[in-house]
Symmetry: C2
Subunit: 275 residues, 2 copies
Amino acid sequence: MSQIRYAFIVSDRTGITSESMGQALLNQFSHIEFRRSMHPFIDTVEKAEKMVAIINQAAEESAVRPLIFSSIVNDEVREVIHQSNGLHLDFFDAFIGILEEELQTEATNIVGNIHGITDEEKYHARMEAVNFSLTHDDGSTDKDMRKADVILVGVSRSGKTPTCLYLALQYGIRAANYPLTPDDLELGSSDLPRMLKPYKQKIFGLTIDPERLHHIREQRRPNSKYASIENCRSEVREAESLYRQHGIPFLSTTHKSVEELAANILLETGIKRRS
Amino acid sequence: MSQIRYAFIVSDRTGITSESMGQALLNQFSHIEFRRSMHPFIDTVEKAEKMVAIINQAAEESAVRPLIFSSIVNDEVREVIHQSNGLHLDFFDAFIGILEEELQTEATNIVGNIHGITDEEKYHARMEAVNFSLTHDDGSTDKDMRKADVILVGVSRSGKTPTCLYLALQYGIRAANYPLTPDDLELGSSDLPRMLKPYKQKIFGLTIDPERLHHIREQRRPNSKYASIENCRSEVREAESLYRQHGIPFLSTTHKSVEELAANILLETGIKRRS
């Protein structure tokens, strides 16, 4: 029998919560290799029974017990998964009893819609934010710019667009972005670009390590002046100087994911989320 | 003293995992109103002590204990939060011991980077997918279309763009989209649009309730033929007929969030995620 350690992530909804949970835990055992698989929408006893058959099959093939990470609201469905030959860690099992006791009331046991459309208005606001961010990508228009929650600025390829899209999709934030071009930077850092002037309070700067920027730009336009390390150094220096001069808060995207950038921007600006 | 029930979501990283967890649990008590707040990047003893002061202040103001949902890897930091006058539910506390026993090894206790850049290559693939999806939005080009993992099709305003962006940002999937125009649909459903023909196996259809579509389009172009209920009914009918005729799988976006649509599309197509 093999020593493969199976890890099943099982959910009655999209699996986003149980996946975060499973990943966060498995990452704490990074010296072990797991064979992970995702199983969303396991929301009936029948589907749970099929799931158990799959888990038991894996258990038979391996000398070690499969792990099961789940967040299943329905007691009956969860109970079926419990019968499998794996180690079953369920998120609701662990916490719901403690909360029921503390709150002196019973959980509703309604399958959680935390990644569904529970609130039409909030969902609509998120989708509007996505549209807004797409329309206001790359300084393409200043129409309705006053409706922006935040305007990310930075040199070309510093990570503005994905960060804006993440802010919009995840938090319903209307995030515009504006590229600092060599023309903008040649002003000698004394002046903000015309389009940005009326919205100074909404501006948040991105910066990036010049070496990294050079690497990224080389993939786009190899051997160009645009991608040259000298030009990258100069653009980044001018951009940072502009931020400092105008008291614009800024972050480096070099070692940060869009998730980390978004969380930091929210924390530093205090912008209110719409989701 | 007030009866306000405070709920603090505390994390040593972005807070994405602890927020999913807190929301999933609190949603099970939807009859109670909670005053929620997010506290990401609590990653030192000093920050944890400040956090405890905030929690204790809330505890003094309220007749009921604050709830604290956290996912904090560092034992020392977690221990500080434990000292507060709230009910502290920590995700790692609940599960890590059981896993250590099962796996016969100790957790690394390294602050989880599950929403950071742990794997440069995977992160790069996600960002490339975002670029791909932006470039291939709304049928704008068929260049490199063969590199698409999936091509979402649907009538105008059926939800293609946000779903593509979510697939790209969350799962690193290169998701193109193509709008079925009245011209495409007038072909009498007998033929696929020219741009799509070579990629039939990659096509996934979206549909939407005509009433809902009418409502969405009215906000864009009030009283237009485009938005009229008759036109919406006819376009949706033709689109669904096209899907059926060509054996294209499809889903309705009417009551589904982008998270639910993405999870369903992954499940139905079996596309492999890059993240």
